[in-house]
């Protein structure tokens, strides 16, 4: 058993301690939101090449049918989350990207599914076969980045370490936490499939110390698994790493620093160092794809914030509009003043409730006006809070000054390109300067130069 209070916990340099606000939803069991009458499914829900539609208006589609795909490798197909008829294909707002083409499907309510190939022992399949299954199921990084998972699994060079990200460092969000409690064994199966594909020698499961119940659940499942199977069957132990609850602990580079004490070189990726990081939600999606043959058509989303009557964790089918989902959570206690998709640090404020949920939506936060704080930017007094909290050793205040006074040539030595855009600097700033936005501007300027 862990003694959480006395054990030494891994962490990275810098970062901020945030008030968690996870108590709204952390004890709420996940519930499935029934599919609404109309689904508006954005065709591209990943980072990479956009998908082309495989259906046309008037077509009948089944649940799980592939309806969007791209020939380019860096892409992930999308599948219909319901059965019904395609009404139209039109541009529609997207919570994360700009307006993208979306398929409007009229739900017939029968959930008539394409044939799902169930597999008893997918770990016996070949590596390439498993990667194909993951790609065909449309699995992307469900921590919010939505990078196609199969690309990360198919890298040249040896991968020896797999890190499973259960940190969930953003306040309010609890979907990964709930998943680890409720789908413990499924996640573990997904992890072992990943280990099988990557042929790694170390597996770490990183969880922050504020998710005790998840740590205990996962630990118990891992121990039972070890008892049941011998190591020879490929069931190497998954090492749970308890990390300090600190933002942005869930960033890839911060996890690697906290667990392995290694820093990813500038301009390089974790895979260059033989490390692959995957989110727990992605592991669950991989489990579903390989064992149940089910493509990624829904995910766990945390609906939270002071405006909701019943905040909670919900399984939401992609393409469900926020306004339909809200109705299921009992509607609003009071009018929201701000709607954020994602966490409050890196999330994106929304214009409207007519927004479909997509693969990258980890949570939706509905904040009332009372919960919002408004500040006026004042001049920097060089208190250096931003320097202290930056997890990648930048000096945000200097970058801000150079951007403000257009001294672009000074930026070379300040490396704004290393910024992970976590926003810790802007959070900590005593003068409320939107530092991360200045750094993003510097990044754009640098990218243009090249």
């Amino acid at each position: 058993m862990y003694n959480i209070d006395t054990m030494s916990k891994g962490t990275f340099n810098g970062g901020v301690f945030l008030s968690e606000r996870k108590e709204y939803t952390v004890d709420k069991k996940t519930k499935a939101i029934p599919a609404p009458r109309e689904i508006i499914l954005p065709l591209s829900q990943h980072i990479g090449s956009p998908n082309e539609p495989l259906v046309k208006p008037g077509d009948n589609v089944k649940l799980g049918q592939r309806i969007g795909e791209s020939k380019s490798p860096v892409s992930a197909p999308v599948h219909s989350p319901v059965s019904g008829r395609v009404k139209s294909i039109q541009d529609f707002s997207n919570p994360i990207y700009r307006k993208t083409p979306a398929v409007v499907i009229e739900n017939d309510g029968n959930d008539e599914s394409v044939e799902l190939v169930k597999r008893e022992n997918p770990e016996e399949l070949s590596k390439q076969e498993l990667i194909r299954i993951i790609r065909d199921a449309g699995v992307v990084g469900l921590g919010g980045a939505t990078f196609p998972t199969h690309i990360k699994l198919n890298v040249p060079g040896k991968i020896d370490t797999l890190i499973i990200n259960g940190a969930e460092c953003e306040p309010y969000l609890t979907c990964d936490h709930r998943l680890m409690i409720e789908k413990t064994n499924e996640i573990l199966n997904g992890i072992y499939l990943l280990a099988r594909i990557l042929e790694v020698s170390n597996i770490f499961l990183a969880i922050e110390d504020n998710k005790l119940s998840a740590i205990f659940a996962m630990e118990k499942a891992i121990r039972e698994r070890i008892k049941k199977f011998s190591r020879s069957k490929g069931h190497m132990p998954v090492q749970i790493v308890v990390l300090k609850a600190k933002y942005p602990q869930g960033g890839e580079n911060q996890l690697i620093k906290a667990i392995l004490k290694k820093e990813v070189l500038p301009g390089k990726f974790p895979t260059d160092m033989g490390i692959v990081v995957q989110n727990v939600g992605t592991c669950f999606a991989i489990y579903q794809a390989a064992y149940e043959g089910k493509p990624l058509i829904e995910r766990c989303v945390t609906f939270t914030g002071g405006c909701l009557k019943e905040p909670g964790n919900f399984i939401v089918r992609f393409g469900t509009l926020l306004k339909d989902a809200i109705e299921f959570c009992g509607g609003f206690r009071e009018r929201p003043a701000k709607i954020i998709i994602g966490g409050p640090m890196m999330g994106i404020a929304q214009y409207s409730l007519d927004i479909p949920t997509v693969k990258g939506v980890t949570g939706v936060i509905f904040l009332s006006k009372r919960e919002l704080k408004f500040f006026e930017e004042s001049t920097c007094i060089r208190c250096a809070r931003c320097v202290d909290v930056c997890p990648v050793n930048l000096v945000p205040t200097e970058i801000m000054r150079m951007v403000k006074y257009s001294r672009w040539h000074y930026l070379d030595k300040l490396h704004p390109g290393d910024c992970i855009e976590c926003g810790a600097c802007a959070y900590a700033c005593a003068s409320k300067v939107p530092l991360v936005q200045y750094i993003k501007l510097a990044k754009l300027k640098e990218a243009k130069k090249k």
């Binding site: 070189l265 409050p344 904040l367 004042s378 001049t379 208190c383 959070y427 003068s431």
Partner: protein, 313 residues
């Protein structure tokens, strides 16, 4: 429902509680013990100087911002901090008009002329003191006995040690503040209490005071070891003169000190070294003011030279 009037802004959507006025208020709270000590030891003289200094700093700030068509920002409390700190480093018998002139130099010349809060290179209170020391040397070296307020004694403990080699030091008086000197610098006890408050509230970085005081201690300890007849010991140099107010309240001024951690170490150690060079081998008994001003000037250079190691290299 209709969802008009939603607030849109880029992340982060939450913010820390820290603010510029909050940091300034912390400094003011930390100065309260020293304010009380100065009023206790220098009575009404201290009170009047403090009052005049605070009021004129705030008035000058508002007036200059108005004349320069800037936003009037006296609510950030920085002028009050400058006012208190300026009075704290003045001799008790300073004529009021000289005090007001000093406040004008601090706010007008050292702060607003450079662009206002956040843009000044030198600590306003110290730059104003340097100006007065050059312009009115007689006023600036007329010291009062504490409590009795006998005017014009001439020598602070540092002066006595330096010029009369009077090494008969009463450490208790030095610690409590029962010695002649500037208003707020005499009571080490009050300053240390304020410093601890600032450290606990994380309003200042411990590296600067530790680097500063540590360097002063090491240099004075060593010189005392070599020739104990001429040089006083480490503890004396920490408690005497303006070292503590300088190390705790002046050198830690965020605007005029480096932002990097290494830079802060260098800044603190540099302040300590320059202070000791002036105190031991120059024609002046005290060097805190010039040491900090000199290091202030080096601040942009220190920032550039001590950038943190690039992540991953």
């Amino acid at each position: 429902m209709k969802e008009e009037n939603l607030y849109i802004s880029p992340g982060p959507h939450i913010f820390s509680k820290e603010s510029t006025p909050g940091l300034m208020k912390d400094v003011i709270i930390a100065l309260v013990p020293a304010i009380f000590a100065s009023i206790y030891f220098f009575k009404v003289k201290a009170f009047i100087l403090l009052l005049v200094s605070i009021v004129s700093c705030v008035v000058f700030e508002a007036a200059i911002q108005f004349l320069m068509k800037r936003k009037i920002a006296i609510s950030d409390c920085s002028a009050i901090v400058t006012g208190i700190l300026f009075a704290m480093v003045m001799p008790p018998s300073l004529p009021i008009w000289v005090c007001i002139l000093g406040c004008f130099v601090a706010i007008g010349l050292a702060k607003q002329l450079f662009g206002g809060l956040g843009f000044n290179i030198f600590n306003p209170a110290l730059l104003a003191r340097a100006f007065l020391a050059a312009a009115f040397p007689t006023f600036m070296t007329r010291w009062n006995h504490p409590l009795s307020l006998d005017a014009v004694t001439g020598a602070t403990p540092l002066g006595l040690v330096k010029f009369s080699h009077n090494l008969d030091i009463n450490y208790r008086d030095l610690f409590i503040g029962n010695v002649s000197g500037s208003l707020g610098e005499t009571s080490a006890l009050a300053l240390v209490i304020g410093g601890l408050y600032l450290l606990i509230k994380k309003a200042i970085d411990w590296r600067i005071p530790l680097g500063y005081i540590g360097t002063v201690f090491i240099i004075s300890f060593l010189t005392n070891l070599i020739s104990p007849d001429i040089y006083a010991g480490g503890l004396f140099h920490i408690l005497a003169g303006g070292l503590l107010i300088g190390a705790i309240f002046m050198a830690t001024d965020p605007v005029t000190s480096p932002v990097t951690k290494t830079g802060r170490w260098v800044f603190g150690i540099g302040c300590g070294a320059v202070t000791m060079v002036i105190r031991l081998w120059s024609g002046l008994p005290e060097g805190v003011m010039y040491a900090i001003l000199l290091m202030n000037a080096l601040m942009p250079l220190l920032n550039r030279m001590t950038r943190p190691r690039r992540y991953g290299t």
